[in-house]
Symmetry: C2
Subunit: 148 residues, 2 copies
């Protein structure tokens, strides 16, 4: 069985999410959208991606309900792409990717961009999975309960 094309119907929520945002360009576009990028030309400048690929990925994210279009804020002809509520709720995914990268993919002292709270300038708390009652929980203390 080739499961490549039917991840979107799997009973595993991780697989379904991956079917929607589990590729490099989609994840980078979502990151840029959180960062306030909204114009086609600005996504293109940020990612250095071919126009046809960019157009296709943006359309996929719109179809998936992650981005929506709106008229350009300057009254121009060009539409803008902004995160929907469903897209905004990818924030934990982006923050988790960021915090993992900060920990493991930079040399000691190597500078990197930081995600901070606007009002305080402080970096965010390190995000870690917790049990139902809030205790920190490690992977070994969890299990996946599959469908019968």
């Amino acid at each position: 069985m080739n499961k490549r094309n039917d991840l979107g119907t799997e009973p595993c929520p991780v697989a379904r999410s991956i079917s929607v945002v589990g590729d490099r360009w989609s994840l980078l576009l979502v990151r840029d959208a959180f960062d306030g990028v909204c114009r086609f030309s600005d996504f293109q400048r940020s990612l250095g991606v071919a126009r046809n690929i960019l157009a296709e990925r943006l359309r996929r994210l719109v179809d998936a309900g992650i981005l929506e279009t709106r008229p350009g804020s300057n009254g121009g002809a060009h539409q803008e792409y902004v995160l929907t509520a469903q897209g905004q709720s990818l924030f934990p995914v982006v923050v988790a990717l960021r915090q993992w990268g900060e920990r493991h993919l930079f040399e000691q002292g190597e500078p990197h961009s930081e995600l901070v709270e606007k009002s305080t300038g402080q970096p965010l708390h390190f995000m870690a999975p917790q049990a139902a009652d809030g205790r920190p929980i490690s992977p070994g203390d969890t299990e996946v309960r599959k469908l019968a």
Copy 2:
């Protein structure tokens, strides 16, 4: 500038993480490894992926320090793949993907697998980014402080 190939040197930790795990197979392999899959044949059965692609992706994850190999636990000739400490620390990424999928990619009442605490059987707490002092924080209250 084609940034496709140099994500791994970007000052953005999100981009670096995506350069390492931002593709469908890598994410699914990491998910399976958290789920206790460790043999080549079991990864193959789980993902339905061609042997050559699977071998290449496993090797990339080993090279990236996310998986490591060990002798087969049954004393057989086949090695096993297990998460390193660095790989284990992708747990928040996998949980965030799961929780987003649970919220947005299933119909009301549609069954899905669940990640639960072994000792209690309870699903994990919903993981959300927090400010430095623990207050919940929304994307609009954050900003990325780029390198000068």
